[in-house]
Structures are given as structure tokens and as C-alpha cells.
Amino acid sequence: MFGVLMATLLVTIALVGSNMDSILKQSVSLEIREQVTSNKGLLNSFKTSSDLDQYIQNQINQRISALGLDQPWYSPNRIGLAMYKILTLDFGHAKFLTSDSGSSDVKEIILEKLPRTILLFTTATAIVSVLGIFLGAISASKVNSKIDKITSGLAIVSSSFPVWWVGVLLIFVFAFLYPIFPPRATPDIPPSDPSYLISLLNHMALPLITLVLIGFGSWAYLVRNFLVGVLQEDFIMAKRAIGIDEKKILFSHALKNAAPPIVTVLALSLSGSLGGAIITEAVFDWPGMGRLYYEAISVLDLPVIIGATYVLTAFFLVSVFVADVLYGYFDPRVRRQ
């Protein structure tokens, strides 16, 4: 699991590294040129322009080797150093981006954005899974009924719409045609204000509705399919024969047996939605990890990219791990092996 994390980061560094280096080198030479030309005394001490160029070139080379940029990005020294820093959760400072409070420390930026993403997507996933499980259970108990058909249809239709397009559509309808919700999801009140939370929730409504609308259909379909399989098993028949209430069978006995795959999918979809957050957050302008990631990539801010990739991958792996543990809890057969 740890290997996966490192591999992902290595791929990221490999992809962004060379571009990043050339950008850094350019900015170093620009910086030094500016320093030298703004220093009049220093400027006058050179007799010819070639002397001046020589001096500037020396300065640039010194700075570059001080920063370790004279070695290519794939030299073991630099990669080893980068990996060591990442392991100690030291992501360094962002080159261009800053957090809302103005800090350029990558750790601070991420810590500021992460809770918002988690707030939005965990809430959405929670609502979606509760709705989905409930609806799925009902349609599983009445296979081929109207509810069942509507659920299956909804699942198929909603899975083929891109989430972000539905988002754009909802913004169009509910923010401009009927201005109920604000079109941009960034709250316009500073976080210190007491009404910040209300404003945040108000701005969160539209993305949340989008995510729920797109999500719960396929969830219900999934739960239904698992439950239909369980409901055909003998022990359910036996319970029915004893005369246990149908609802109780459905919600406590059958659902518990269908839980392991459901939990696995839940955990995976939660972490998957974090990855998918990039486009959704770009559409709604939600100030979370996804938008941070997008901004970082568009200006090639390597420390931020690495930090965000690290966090996203770590989340994914943790949720895979949690899913495994929960699977063992719900399905003891796995444990005894």
C-alpha cells in the first residue's frame, strides 16, 4: 500500500519534474538579473557589458547549484531528498499559489482546503447512501414493480450524464433562471464572521443537490442487485416461513448480509468522488482540494501538485484499507481464512 503511494508520487514527479525545472531556472535567472540591474552601484562598477553578463551568469550558476537544479530531476539525490521530505510531510512552499490567509506553506494550503472538500463530498455520499440503501431495499422487495423499474431506469439514465454538466444545468436553472441559490459556491463572507457557516451551507446547496441527484439512482440500483441475490437465499425463506415481519427481514437480516459488498463500494465511491471533485469543484467554484489541484496544475506549481496528489492517493488507500477491515467485520468468513 505504501509502495503504491510512492509509485504514484514518483510518476507525478517524473511527469512534472522537467517542466518544473526549466520554469524554476528561468525564474532564478530573471530574479538575479533584476537584482543586479536595480543595484546602481554594482551596475557602475562594470566597465564592459560582457563583464556584466559574465557576472550575472556566475551568479545564476551559483544560485542554481545551491538549489540543486544543476542536477537533472531524476538524479537519485534529488528524488531521494524529495521522497524523504514527503515522508516527513514536509511539502515545502508553493511557488505561486497561496492559501486564503496568504500563507504559501503547502501544508497550510491543503489543511485549509481539505475540510471543505470533505464536508461537501462526505455529506453528499452520506445522503446518497442512505437514500440509495432505502430505495434499493424497497425496490428489491418488490422486484419488477413500478418503483423497481423507475429506480433501474433512473440508475441507467443518471449514470450516463456527466456530473459537471448536470451541475452547469442546475446553475443555469436555479441560479439564473430562478435565482434561489448563489451561482458560485465560494462564500463571500470572511470565515471569522459568525454567519459564515450559514453562508457556507447556502453556497453548498447547489453542488450537494447535483451530487445527490446524480448519485442516488445508481446506488439504489446497486443495493437492489445485491439484495435481490440475498433475498433468494434459503435462510430468508426460512425466516419468512417462521413468520418474521417482511420489513424486519428486509432491513435487518437481508441488508446485513448484503452489507459487505455495499460497504466496499461505499468506501471506494467516497474516495473516487474525491478524485472526481476536480471537475465538480471547478464548475461550482467550490474552494476545495479539487479546485486547488486544478489551479496548481494549470500553473505547474510542483509542491502543491505533489502535496495534493499525496493527500488524494492517501485518502484512496485509507478507504481501501477501511473497506477491507469492514468487510472482515461484516463477513467473518474472510477473517477465519
Partner: protein, 453 residues
């Protein structure tokens, strides 16, 4: 687990969902063929060339919305002339008349006369309009630049020209009508007693006089600027959205199907090989699979397209790179089951080579599953490409549906109520996805007996 292709076909034709999917797919293929046949290949490149779209209106709604409106919005009209040629002594006269029944409830935004002539000497051009009430307004007369030899000359006359305004003021003042309230441009189409459109039959007449010389008109069209245009309307850059949607169809099908086939077959071969070999090979191949599986796909896709390139073919490659993993896992476990079947072991004992066993005995068993997963993974490929394009990371030289939506969000189409720019591309994406989901589910229901009830 094994099915003959005949039974699958038979079962499939009975499946309502599958047939719906196939029908939609056939329609989409027909649209793509129409796009290929009717639109010349070079015009692909002109999509981003503003000069190509000059004669189109800006941000015009689809013209069919007029059917639902009481107040008819003027349509953007590109009129072609009815031509008469006569010779009056030494003068060659070409008369182009443009007739139009103007029955809309508001004024056209402007009009443009576009022409290209071949002549020598210095011919005259005269532009006038006859209104439904019989009044004739002289709009413009100009002499084309003098030339000794035969030359080609092209130009446009805009309704905002000073000359036209002056001529209208002059004509109106002869009639002693209250003219202060009107914009002069609208006066051409206006009733004189109130500021309303005079509906009826208008004739615009362009006459070219070549005195003692030859003159011929190569191109001559009158554009009445309106606010609705065509089947799908136009966008902020005057591009005809119907064209973009049409082009998007073959592109989406290409991206979806190529990515799906590529990743399914890569995954199939990888998984079958790992499952068939077993032991250390299997173990190491599956660990590699796990690593790819655990990588966050979308972020890495974005990094790839930013750093390496965003050509549409590269994008297809990137999508395959992350698409094969899940299929490899499933096909490995299936291959491990098939491996233990007696006829496979028999052929192994006969000394058959590994790759021959895989190709002859294992892969055919997995084909139905492969087809189902190809169909099911097409929508994901299309939406992912659309998503990347939407973020502005797609191939800008091809008008994919995602690209249209990206442009829409760049120009704030949602805030300006330009629904015809937002709705159709998304619906096309969804319909295409739906077709493949239908087909995939239908095949899945046949080859996967567990789902049958």
C-alpha cells in the same frame, strides 16, 4: 459459460433494451456518416477561424423557438438574389433583387450586403429598397475603384454606413414624417406613424451599371441580421452550433469505441496471461495491476495532458492507460477457472504452446464478457474526455461536445441564459452513453446467468 454467437444474437434481438441501444447507435452512426459526407474535411480547421463565421449572427437562439412564441423574433437570413441582366445602349446593367416576406415582430439588428465583382473601368453600384407600402428608399450608391484592366473586387456594405443614414434622412424628409424618434436603420422596416414593424413584402434591389464595359457579379448576398438562426443557434463567436454538434458525433464515437476496445483487449490479454501463467508471474503482474489501480486516474490524466500534450490521439492513449485495470482483474479470475477445465489441460499435455492455448481455448470463452465490457466502458471514456475538454485540457482543434461546453462556460452561457449552447451537447453525451449502456446491459444479461431472474 460458453455461448454460441447464434444464441447470443437471438437472445439479444428479443431484448427490448438492447434493441433500443442498437437503434440509437445506428442513428448516431448515420449522423456521423452525414457529417462526413456533407461537411468537407477542410472545414474542420475552420471551426476556430473567426473569419469563416462572419456572415453568421452572434449568440442567436435556434430558429424553431419562433413556433412557441407569440412575438416572432427575426430570423437571421442570408438571401440570395434573383438576377436580371440587360443592355441599355452602351450600358450593361445587372439587377439583383432580394425578396423577403418580413413577418417578424421586431426589427432586424442590421443588414450587410456582400459582393464580389469582376470589371474594368469604373462601374456604379446602387442599392435601394421597395417597402410593402410602395415607398422606395434609396439607400446607397457608390462607384467602384477605377481600373484599366479586368480586376476582381469584393466588398461589404453595412447598414451602419453614414451614407445610408444620410440617404434615409433625405428620403424621409421629403415625406414630412416624424422621424426623430426612430433609429434610422429601423426606419426601413418601420411604420411611419408608430414605431412598429411594417410587415409584408420587401424587395432590396442592387443595380450595377457598367458604362461601356463588361461587368459580372461573382458573389452577391444580402444578410439580414437577426436573433435566431438555424437548427441549433450560434454561439458567442458566431459559430453554427448545429455544425459543432454534427462534428462531435463521429469524434465521440471514435474516442469512446477506440478507448473501450483498446483498454478491454489490453486488460483481457494481461489478465488472461497472468491467470494462465500463475505463480510468480501472476503474483508480480497482479501487484503491478494493484499499483495502477490505486493511482488516482483523473489527477494523473490532467497532469499527463498538461505536460505531454493534448492531441486527441494522445488523449485516447492516456485513457487506455488507466482503463484496462479492472478488466484485467476480472479476466484473470475467469482465466484461472478456464485453466482447470479438462480440455485445456488435455491440450497442454499434448504439448501445445502456451500462446496457442490462450488464443484458441481461453480467449474465445471470454469474448462475450469482453463485448459486454466494451459497451459498458464506452460512456465512461466519452464522459472523461468531455470532462477533460471541459476543463480546457482537450484538443482545441477538434470541436468535441466537451469543447463546446468548455466554450459555453468560458463565455458564461449559463448566466446569459443561452440554453441552446449548454443543453444539446450534454444531451448528446448522455444519449450516446445511454445507447452503449443499454447494449452492454443487454449483452451482460445474456452472458451473465446470475443476473437473470
Amino acid at each position: 459459460m460458453s455461448f454460441s454467437s447464434g444464441t447470443i444474437l437471438k437472445e439479444f434481438s428479443k431484448n427490448k433494451m438492447g434493441m433500443t441501444g442498437i437503434t440509437i447507435l445506428i442513428i448516431l452512426v448515420v449522423i456521423s456518416i452525414v457529417a462526413f459526407v456533407t461537411i468537407p474535411q477542410e472545414s474542420f480547421k475552420k471551426w476556430n477561424d473567426p473569419a469563416n463565421w462572419l456572415s453568421y449572427p452572434k449568440s442567436a437562439a435556434p430558429s424553431w423557438i419562433n413556433y412557441f412564441l407569440v412575438q416572432k423574433i427575426p430570423e437571421h437570413l442570408i438571401l440570395s438574389p434573383h438576377r436580371t441582366v440587360e443592355k441599355l445602349g452602351t450600358i450593361n446593367v445587372i439587377t439583383d433583387s432580394f425578396e423577403i416576406n418580413y413577418n417578424y415582430d421586431s426589427f432586424p439588428s442590421d443588414f450587410i450586403y456582400q459582393f464580389r465583382t469582376t470589371y474594368d473601368g469604373s462601374p456604379l453600384l446602387h442599392l435601394s429598397v421597395t417597402r410593402p407600402d410602395g415607398i422606395e428608399l434609396n439607400l446607397d450608391s457608390l462607384s467602384l475603384p477605377y481600373s484599366d484592366t479586368k480586376t476582381q473586387y469584393g466588398n461589404m456594405i453595412f447598414s451602419t454606413d453614414q451614407m445610408i443614414t444620410k440617404n434615409i434622412i433625405y428620403d424621409i424628409s421629403k415625406m414630412k414624417l416624424p422621424q426623430e424618434v426612430y433609429s434610422y436603420n429601423d426606419l426601413i422596416f418601420s411604420k411611419f406613424d408608430e414605431n412598429k414593424v411594417l410587415k409584408g413584402h420587401y424587395v432590396f434591389r442592387v443595380t450595377a451599371y457598367g458604362v461601356g464595359t463588361d461587368i459580372s457579379m461573382a458573389e452577391s448576398k444580402l444578410i439580414l441580421g437577426g436573433k435566431v438562426y438555424g437548427l441549433m443557434g450560434t454561439d458567442e463567436l458566431r459559430r453554427d452550433l448545429a455544425m459543432g454538434l454534427l462534428w462531435g458525433t463521429p469524434l465521440a464515437l471514435f474516442i469512446g469505441i477506440t478507448v473501450a476496445i483498446g483498454s478491454v483487449f489490453a486488460g483481457l490479454l494481461y489478465g488472461v496471461f497472468a491467470g494462465f501463467k500463475g505463480k510468480l508471474v501472476d503474483e508480480s503482474m497482479m501487484r503491478f495491476n494493484d499499483i495502477i489501480y490505486a493511482m488516482p486516474a483523473l489527477p494523473l490524466l490532467i497532469i499527463l495532458s498538461v505536460t505531454i500534450g493534448n492531441s486527441i490521439f494522445l488523449l485516447v492513449g492516456f485513457l487506455v492507460l488507466f482503463g484496462w485495470v479492472g478488466i484485467a482483474k476480472v479476466s484473470r479470475s475467469m482465466a484461472m477457472q478456464i485453466k482447470t477445465l479438462q480440455y485445456v489441460e488435455a491440450s497442454k499435455l499434448m504439448g501445445q504452446k502456451d500462446y496457442k492455448i490462450i488464443i484458441k481455448h481461453v480467449l474465445p470463452q471470454l469474448l462475450p464478457y469482453a463485448f459486454a465490457s466494451i459497451a459498458i466502458s464506452v460512456p465512461a471514456a466519452i464522459t472523461t474526455e468531455a470532462g477533460l475538454s471541459f476543463l480546457g485540457l482537450g484538443d482545441p482543434s477538434f470541436p468535441t461536445w466537451g469543447q463546446l461546453l468548455h466554450d459555453a462556460s468560458v463565455y458564461n452561457a449559463a448566466a446569459r441564459g443561452m440554453w441552446w449552447w449548454i443543453l444539446p451537447p450534454g444531451i448528446m453525451i448522455a444519449v450516446t452513453g445511454l445507447a452503449f449502456v443499454f447494449i452492454g446491459n443487454a449483452i451482460d444479461a445474456i452472458v451473465n446467468p446470475k443476473l437473470r431472474r
